[in-house]
């Protein structure tokens, strides 16, 4: 029983119905939560994890239709399976429930055999959906997964304002040659864990990982108010975390690692590129190229972090930085003024 046991919320204003449905659901081996109207049901769904909602239509305060509408509008709850159990009159009302996203409609009093079949089918569908989502999240960020689930998948992109961050480990090839491959994998996993943490905690998403390098986006797929500020804060935290990691490494006589970070801000085109069969979410445009060039240039400039002019202007002096003059980058018609943080990590 425990293995198949799911949490079912029963929303019904009628005590006889609540008792009867509770009994029926418990007899099927599931756990029951109760709500006496739609408002309470939504409150419970927002605070307690639940697998399925059995929803009455005629309820005071907030009726079943309103609950279905609010569920549909809530990104966190829109996938909650709902079975309407009601003795509401009129086929149009039943159609309305289905149009509002209810998976099924069971007339009251609910037949126990039908209830078992419907609950089983709904929970199975939910299980498959959850499994699919978990799998998708392993390959794309949860933000991209949500974007895909919400807007659907379509090749092509839209122009948005974002900050792009590139980072990689300095002298990684030499490091790889000097240690066992297992040790390199361990180091990479630790490195990525720290970098993901720093980037994620400032609203960024890691979009690509290539060897020891990564690309992160701030402002896509979800907009950020201050994408440049967040990207720079993440960059500073990344450097700080690497310093901490180096302390631990030096304690076991391992060489310190250094990272280089480039940040650029501007318009990018974000969306899915590839084919209908295999595609990836990414950002393209001058801003992306510039961030990559800045990251590469940290080696030349001898700085841990480099920014472009747009990022520096967006920060409005909140982070102490200095201009390193203009640099002619490959692929750019005009030289670009670059900046470094005055307390940035030296190379």
């Amino acid at each position: 029983m425990a293995e198949d046991s799911s949490r079912v919320l029963i929303a019904d204003d009628n005590k006889v119905n609540r008792l009867l449905l509770s009994r029926s659901v418990e007899l099927l081996g599931h756990r029951v939560m109760l709500a006496e109207n739609g408002r309470v049901a939504l409150e419970k769904l927002r605070t307690d994890p639940c697998d399925l909602l059995l929803l009455d239509i005629e309820m005071p305060e907030l009726d079943g239709f309103a609950v279905l509408e609010q569920l549909k509008a809530d990104p966190e709850l829109r996938e909650m399976p709902v079975i309407v159990t009601s003795s509401v009159e009129g086929l149009d009302n039943i159609v309305r429930c289905i149009n509002l996203g209810a998976e099924d409609y069971l007339p009251k009093p609910v037949n126990q055999v039908l209830l078992k079949a419907r609950i089983g089918a709904s929970l199975e569908k939910k299980r498959l959906r959850d499994q699919q989502k978990a799998m998708v999240r392993r390959f794309v960020t949860s933000e991209v997964a949500d974007d895909m689930l919400q807007s659907g998948f379509a090749l092509g992109g839209k122009r948005i304002h974002a900050s792009v961050l590139f980072s990689d480990i300095r002298g990684f090839t030499a490091l790889v040659e000097s240690q066992a491959p297992e040790e390199t994998i361990d180091l990479l996993n630790t490195y990525y864990m720290l970098m993901f943490d720093a980037i994620g905690s400032h609203g960024g998403v890691v979009n690509q990982m290539i060897g020891d390098g990564l690309m992160a986006l701030f402002g896509a797929p979800l907009p950020l108010d201050n994408c440049a500020g967040n990207a720079v804060a993440a960059a500073l935290e990344m450097v700080e975390l690497i310093e901490q990691l180096n302390h631990e490494r030096s304690a076991v006589n391992k060489p310190a690692i250094r990272i280089g970070i480039g940040v650029a801000t501007g318009d990018v085109v974000a969306g899915y590129t590839g084919t209908q069969q295999r595609a990836t979410y990414t950002c393209i445009g001058d801003t992306v190229n510039l961030a990559a060039r800045l990251e590469a240039h940290t080696k030349v400039a001898g700085c841990g972090i480099l920014f472009d002019d747009a990022t520096q202007r967006a920060l409005g002096g909140s982070v102490p930085m200095q201009s390193l003059g203009e640099v002619p980058f490959k692929g750019k018609a005009a030289a670009v003024e670059i900046f470094s943080v005055t307390d940035g990590q030296p190379d």
Partner: protein, 115 residues
């Protein structure tokens, strides 16, 4: 012979699928909740609140159907569908008939519950 107020087949199925002990509890709840529902119906009528009236009739209908109280269900359903506006003079008599039918259903369910 007087027609049975409770459809015995519906009651038996309810007892068989949920258990005799549970049905006893459910009957008690029905009896406990009934007077409040009838009062709600009267109050809604006095207030002229059609939505409240319809909802109260709907609750009585659902409970009647659960226990196989055929006539109670039919009367309550009529109120739910017709609401306040349909033939108000008939409703006065109808409400009394509904209350009487509820009392019969409650009495028969009590008898069934006690075996």
């Amino acid at each position: 012979m007087e027609e049975s107020v409770i459809d015995r087949a519906v009651y038996a199925e309810l007892r068989d699928t949920t258990g005799a002990e549970f049905v006893t509890e459910l009957v008690d709840t029905f009896i406990e909740q009934g007077p409040g529902m009838l009062a709600e119906l009267r109050a809604a009528r006095a207030e002229g609140n059609a939505e409240r009236f319809r909802r109260a009739a709907h609750s009585l209908k659902t409970n009647g159907r659960t226990f196989g109280a055929v006539k109670l269900t039919a009367l309550a359903r009529e109120f739910e569908l017709k609401g306040l506006d349909a033939d108000p003079t008939r409703e006065v008599a109808g409400l009394a008939a509904l209350e009487a039918e509820y009392a019969r259903a409650a009495a028969e369910l009590k008898a069934l519950r006690n075996g």
